[in-house]
């Protein structure tokens, strides 16, 4: 018989004897194998029980009670009876519904904390010294360095960079196709511009030739002055044409 079982039987017997439900002999007869041990335990118990503490006078107790009641401070008025309700709930009615409510509060709070924490860390990525989130950034960096996360993040970043490069290559091919068509359009427009300038120059030439004819009729001998006048007229006409074109453009823009 192990000690635990023996202790349980002997102490149960002792309790029965002390409470008067059973006599020592009855107990020893019930457990003959433990009779010797029961005897020694009963002996110790009897020794302890023989110490009779003095009876206290009921009048003295009453006096002490009155003294105590006078000393007790008034309890502050409770706003609700939550404390006594809490005791009652704990003792008698475990309110599972309310407990689950509290669980939800904890779950929601945890999720919110995680989300806001992650948001703060993300937002602090571009923080500079002096910004509110800068300490968060430095803390996260320190943590990454110390925890070895840095290498892991580098690996992930390299991976994403590679993926980006592949994507860029794909985009580059598309751009080439688009650029070719753009070039064609540009060339066409250049041609148009050339044509315009040619027509302008033709007109200039026509005007110049008219002027030349006039000047020639005025003075045939003075060739130097003719050429000077020609150039002056040309430039004047050109500037006039330019300004006209500019005004037209402005109108179009408007």
């Amino acid at each position: 018989m192990n000690e635990k079982r023996k202790a349980r039987i002997i102490i149960k017997c002792l309790d029965e004897v002390r409470s008067g439900n059973m006599s020592r002999e009855e107990c020893q007869q019930k457990y003959p194998k433990l009779a010797e041990e029961l005897r020694s335990i009963f002996s110790s118990s009897e020794m302890l029980s023989s110490i009779q503490l003095p009876e206290v006078d009921p009048l003295y107790i009453r006096k002490q009670k009155i003294k105590l009641m006078q000393k007790l401070s008034d309890r502050e008025n409770l706003v609700t009876k939550s404390q006594s309700h809490r005791y009652m709930e704990q003792e008698h009615k475990p309110n599972l519904k309310r407990r689950l409510k509290m669980t939800w509060v904890i779950i929601v709070t945890t999720i919110l904390s995680l989300v806001s924490g992650a948001g703060a860390v993300y937002a602090s990525k571009d923080a500079l010294p002096g910004d509110v989130l800068y300490p968060v950034k430095t803390w996260v960096e320190d943590f990454e360095e110390t925890s070895g996360l840095d290498d892991f993040i580098d690996t992930i970043e390299d991976f994403f960079e590679d993926v980006d490069d592949d994507d860029d290559d794909l985009y580059d091919n598309d751009d080439d196709v688009e650029n070719d068509s753009d070039d064609d359009l540009d060339e066409d427009s250049d041609d148009d511009a050339d044509n315009d300038s040619d027509s302008d120059s033709d007109e200039d030439l026509d005007e110049d030739s008219d002027d030349d004819a006039d000047n020639d009729s005025d003075s045939d001998s003075d060739s130097d002055s003719d050429t000077d006048n020609d150039t002056d007229d040309d430039t004047d006409d050109d500037t006039d044409n330019d300004t006209d074109n500019d005004n037209d453009d402005d109108d179009d823009d408007d």
């Binding site: 000690e3 635990k4 023996k6 202790a7 349980r8 002997i10 102490i11 002792l14 041990e37 020694s40 335990i41 002996s43 110790s44 118990s45 020794m47 302890l48 029980s49 023989s50 110490i51 009779q52 503490l53 003095p54 206290v56 107790i61 002490q64 009670k65 003294k67 105590l68 009641m69 000393k71 007790l72 401070s73 008034d74 309890r75 008025n77 409770l78 009876k81 404390q83 006594s84 809490r86 005791y87 009652m88 704990q90 003792e91």
Partner: protein, 189 residues
Amino acid sequence: MRLTLDTIHRSEDQLIIKAISGDKEAFGHLYDNYFMQIFKYLLIRTNTKEDAEDMTEIVFMKAWEHLPNFGEKKKERNFHAWLFRIAHNTLIDRYRTKKESLSLESALQIKSTNAEPEKIVLQNEKVKMIRKAIKMLDEISREVIMSRFFGGLSHKETAQLVGVNENNVRIIQYRALKKLNILLREQNE
């Protein structure tokens, strides 16, 4: 019997709830119910009757003060054990501040004051032996013996007071009584 115990517990619960709300009369009933047990427990652990009286008052003052927190911890939902825990802590505080050692001699000698002189001598001898034997027990065994034999605590309440489970209380009590028997026999020889 069961019905009666239930009724007692229910009425005690009501008294506790009323006392928490500030009802001094209800607390007075609790005082009546537990005064003797606390007083005896303290008397057996203190040097004098006066000390036991002072400390009993302190225990109930503390109980009134901390009653709104009663039941917060799962293990402290038994009022009897809770009150004894306060008594135990008060006792420790008292002897820590006074720097005195726990003595059983004076308290145990009180019983013999009304007896005949011859019996007083014999009784004192017996008390001395028991005191010496109890002193030789370890702290937890001493606490279990005191709670069970002088505090009137059940196994469950003792378990709550000492901070072990009920089965362990039984084993500690069994071993302590066995050891006491050996020690007392040695002293007699």
